[in-house]
C-alpha cells in the first residue's frame, strides 16, 4: 500500500504548495524588497526574474487558451449555438453552473442499494427505508428535471471498459517488464526492439487494422460488447507500457534484490517487497497511461458500439454537430466534465510522468 500512500502524500504536498503559494510569494517579495533597498540584490536580477516569469506565464496562458474558451462557454448562461454567442468575453457576464447540472442530471437517494460485481452481475440488493428525495435537484438551477445528459450512463460504460483494460494490461505488463529488466532469455533483445517499434505506432495500428478487427468482431459476435473492447485496449497498451516500466525498473539498483536473496527471501517476496515499492513512480505512470487507453479512445469505440453502450468519448462526439444547430454551452459543460478530472491527474502526476519518461537518466 506504500504506492497509494506515496501518491496521496505527494498530491497533498502539491496542494499545500498551491494553497500556501500566496504566503511564500509574499515572503519572497519582502525579501527581494529589503534586498533591493539594502543593495544586496542587483535590480537587473529582479527585472530579469519578473520578465522571464511573466513571459513563461504568458506562454502557458496562450497554450491553455482554447480550454479556457470552452470553460467560459460552459459557465455562460446563454444556451445558444456558436452563431448566437455575442463574441468572446474574457470573463463571461452572469456565470452559472446550470450547464454542469444538466450534465450530471437529477440525483436522488436510491430506493435500493445494489452491489454489482464485474462479470457476476448483481450480488446484493438492500432496500433503503426512506422516500427518494433529491440530493441534486436540477429544478433549483432552472434546468428541467427531465432534461439530462447521458453523462453518467456513458461514464459507467467507460468505467467498465477501463476497469478490464487496467486489470488485463497490468497483470501482463508487470511480470513482462520485470522479466525484460532482470532476466535473460532467447530473443529478449529482439522483443524489446519490437516493443520500441510499436510504442507510438500502437494507436494508429489499431486504426489501420480496424477493417480486420471489425470483421472479426462481427464474426464472433463481439460487436457492441464492452468486455472485448476493454481487453482489446489492454492488448494495445502492452508494448509501450511494458517497455516504459522496464526502462524504469532498470533504474532500480540490483543490489537491493541481491540483499534480499542473501537474506533468503523467495522470489515472489522480492518482487512484492522490493521491486514493486521501488518502482511506484513507474507503476503510477503506466497505470495512468493504461487507464487512459480505455477511457479516451474514440475511433474504435464509435465503430464497435451502439448508442446504448456508448463510452464517454463517443457520447461527447454525439453532442457536437453543425455549429448552427448544436447547443454550444451544453457541449462545453459535457466536454469539461469529461476532461477536467484527467487534466488534474496529469497536473499532479507531472513529476511522476517526467521521471517515468526520462530516457536519459536511467543508466542507474
Amino acid at each position: 500500500m506504500s504506492l497509494a500512500t506515496g501518491i496521496v502524500r505527494s498530491v497533498y504536498e502539491d496542494l499545500r504548495g498551491i494553497v500556501l503559494a500566496p504566503y511564500t510569494l509574499a515572503k519572497e517579495f519582502r525579501y527581494t524588497y529589503h534586498g533591493l533597498q539594502e543593495g544586496k540584490i542587483p535590480p537587473k536580477y529582479v527585472a530579469w526574474t519578473w520578465l522571464s516569469t511573466i513571459g513563461a506565464v504568458a506562454v502557458a496562458a496562450l497554450l491553455m487558451f482554447p480550454i479556457y474558451w470552452v470553460f467560459t462557454t460552459a459557465i455562460s448562461g446563454s444556451g445558444g449555438s456558436l452563431y448566437s454567442t455575442g463574441g468572446f468575453e474574457l470573463i463571461p457576464p452572469n456565470p452559472t453552473i446550470k450547464n454542469f447540472v444538466w450534465v450530471i442530471g437529477p440525483i436522488t437517494t436510491p430506493e435500493n442499494i445494489v452491489i454489482n460485481a464485474p462479470l457476476l452481475g448483481e450480488l446484493f440488493r438492500i432496500p433503503v427505508p426512506m422516500e427518494p428525495t433529491y440530493i441534486l435537484d436540477p429544478a433549483q438551477f432552472g434546468v428541467p428535471r427531465s432534461a439530462r445528459s447521458n453523462f453518467l450512463a456513458y461514464a459507467e460504460n467507460s468505467a467498465y471498459v477501463s476497469f478490464w483494460t487496467v486489470i488485463i494490461a497490468m497483470s501482463v505488463i508487470i511480470p513482462g517488464a520485470y522479466g525484460m529488466s532482470r532476466r535473460d532469455f532467447i530473443g529478449r533483445k529482439k522483443l524489446l526492439y519490437l516493443y520500441i517499434l510499436l510504442t507510438q505506432v500502437g494507436g494508429g495500428l489499431g486504426i489501420a487494422i480496424l477493417i480486420a478487427l471489425y470483421t472479426i468482431f462481427q464474426n464472433i459476435g463481439w460487436l457492441n460488447e464492452l468486455l472485448p473492447l476493454g481487453i482489446y485496449y489492454g492488448a494495445g497498451a502492452v508494448p509501450f507500457n511494458t517497455w516504459l516500466l522496464k526502462t524504469y525498473m532498470d533504474g532500480i539498483p540490483i543490489s537491493y534484490e541481491e540483499a534480499a536473496i542473501v537474506d533468503g527471501a523467495p522470489s515472489w517476496r522480492i518482487v512484492y517487497e522490493v521491486i514493486i515499492p521501488l518502482s511506484k513512480a513507474g507503476l503510477a505512470t503506466v497505470f495512468v497511461f493504461v487507464f487512459l487507453a480505455g477511457w479516451t479512445d474514440f475511433v474504435i469505440a464509435q465503430l464497435m458500439l451502439e448508442d446504448t453502450n456508448w463510452t464517454l468519448p463517443v457520447g461527447l462526439y454525439s453532442y457536437s454537430g453543425r455549429p448552427s444547430e448544436m447547443n454550444w454551452a451544453h457541449f462545453s459543460a459535457f466536454a469539461l466534465a469529461f476532461a477536467v478530472p484527467l487534466m488534474l491527474v496529469y497536473f499532479f502526476a507531472q513529476r511522476y510522468i517526467e521521471s517515468g519518461l526520462s530516457f536519459g537518466g536511467m543508466e542507474g
Binding site: 522571464s52 513563461a56 506562454v59 456558436l82 532469455f185
Partner: protein, 354 residues
C-alpha cells in the same frame, strides 16, 4: 578424453530440457506477447488476406467458406493483387495491366505520365507526407522552445507551470480535436476568426474548413497542440541532464546564449530529442482523427490522410478489400520508417540497452 567430454557438453547444451530451463523467464513475457498478438498481430495477418479479396459487407458476412479451412472469408473471392493495382494505377492503366498489355501502360505514361496513376491515392499519400514534414518540424521546434522557457533559471513556479502546460496530454484526444474544430470554425464566431477580425487582419470570416490549404494548416496547428506536451516532457528531462559545469565553464569563457545553445545544450539533448522526434513522426503519419473530425478529410476528399482514405473506402463505400490494401500500404510505410529510424538512430541503445 577432451573430445568425449566436448561431445557430452554439446549434447547437454542442445538438450531441449535445459534450453527450456535456461529460458524459463520468457514465461514472464509470453502472456503479454500472446495477448498483443491475439488482438493486433492476428488482425494484421487477416487484413493481409482481406486485401487480396473483393470483400464487402454483402459477401464477407454471409456464407461459411474458410481459406485453408481456417480463415473465414464468407463468400468473398480471392482476386490477387487487383486491389493494389487499382490503388496505385488509374482505371485505364489498371485495366491494361490486368490484361497484360504493359505496352499500352508504357505508351500512356509517355503521352501523359500523370494519367497512369490513381489520383486519390497518390494525393492522399503526398498530403500525408506533407503533413508529417510540416507538423513534425513545428512540434519539435515548439517543444524545444517551450521546454527552454519553462526551465529558465529565473522563472518562478516552474514546476506548477510545467504541470499546467502538460495537461493537454491528459485531455482526451477527441475533446481537443473537437475544440480545435470550433476554433477553426468557418463561422464568424469561431475563435480564430474572432481573433483575426479583432486584430483587424481580415474583414470577413475565413473559411477555414472549406479551403484545402487553410484546413491543412488547421490540422497542423491542432497536431502541434496535441503533441507538444510529449516533446516538452522529453526535452525537459533531457535539459535537466545537461552538465551544469559545462554550461558554467562556457559562460565564464564568454560564450553568449546562442553559442552555449549550439555547442553545449543542443549536443547534450540531441539524442533524446531525436528519439522523441521519431516517435512523434510516426504519430503524425497515422493521424486519423484530426482530418476526420474537422471535415472528413475534405474539402471534396482532398485532405484525406492515408488512414482516413482507408477508413472512408472501407466503411463509407463498403470496399473492405480496397480499404485493407490502403491500410496495409500505410502500415508498410510506417514500418519502413520506424525500422530505418530505429536502425539509424540506435534507438535500442536509447532504451537502456547500451
Amino acid at each position: 578424453m577432451s573430445t568425449v567430454s566436448d561431445v557430452a557438453q554439446r549434447f547437454k547444451e542442445s538438450d531441449l530440457a535445459s534450453v527450456l530451463e535456461e529460458n524459463s523467464s520468457a514465461a514472464l513475457v509470453l502472456p503479454g506477447l500472446l495477448l498483443w498478438s491475439m488482438f493486433m498481430l492476428l488482425p494484421m495477418m487477416y487484413i493481409f488476406v482481406l486485401s487480396l479479396t473483393n470483400a464487402r459487407p454483402a459477401n464477407i458476412f454471409v456464407g461459411n467458406n474458410r481459406l485453408l479451412g481456417l480463415v473465414p472469408l464468407g463468400e468473398a473471392d480471392i482476386i490477387g493483387l487487383e486491389n493494389y493495382i487499382e490503388l496505385l494505377f488509374s482505371i485505364d492503366a489498371a485495366n491494361s495491366i490486368q490484361n497484360g498489355a504493359y505496352g499500352a501502360v508504357f505508351d500512356l505514361f509517355l503521352s501523359d505520365p500523370i494519367a497512369v496513376f490513381n489520383y486519390p491515392f497518390w494525393n492522399s499519400f503526398l498530403v500525408t507526407w506533407a503533413f508529417v514534414i510540416v507538423s513534425v518540424t513545428g512540434k519539435v521546434l515548439l517543444g524545444i522552445a517551450i521546454a527552454m522557457i519553462m526551465t529558465g533559471n529565473r522563472v518562478r513556479g516552474k514546476r506548477y507551470l510545467r504541470g499546467i502546460i502538460i495537461m493537454p496530454m491528459g485531455v482526451p484526444v477527441i475533446f481537443s480535436i473537437l475544440i480545435w474544430r470550433f476554433v477553426f470554425s468557418n463561422a464568424r464566431f469561431g475563435l480564430m476568426n474572432q481573433f483575426l477580425i479583432g486584430i483587424g487582419a481580415v474583414d470577413e470570416a475565413v473559411p477555414w474548413l472549406t479551403d484545402r490549404w487553410l484546413a491543412f494548416s488547421g490540422y497542423v496547428v491542432t497536431e502541434m497542440w496535441l503533441a507538444y506536451p510529449f516533446m516538452v516532457l522529453i526535452t525537459v528531462s533531457a535539459l535537466q541532464n545537461v552538465n551544469g559545469d559545462l554550461l558554467d565553464a562556457a559562460e565564464v569563457d564568454g560564450a553568449g546564449f546562442f553559442s552555449r545553445m549550439r555547442h553545449v545544450i543542443l549536443p547534450s539533448i540531441k539524442r533524446p530529442v531525436m528519439f522523441g522526434t521519431i516517435l512523434t513522426s510516426a504519430a503524425s503519419f497515422q493521424q486519423f482523427l484530426i482530418p476526420w473530425v474537422f471535415n472528413s478529410g475534405g474539402p471534396s476528399r482532398e485532405n484525406e490522410l492515408l488512414l482516413v482514405y482507408a477508413y472512408r473506402e472501407a466503411f463509407a463505400f463498403s470496399a473492405y478489400g480496397k480499404g485493407a490494401a490502403i491500410s496495409l500500404t500505410a502500415l508498410f510505410f510506417i514500418g519502413m520508417f520506424m525500422w530505418v529510424a530505429v536502425k539509424r538512430g540506435n534507438l535500442a541503445e536509447e532504451a537502456g540497452e547500451s
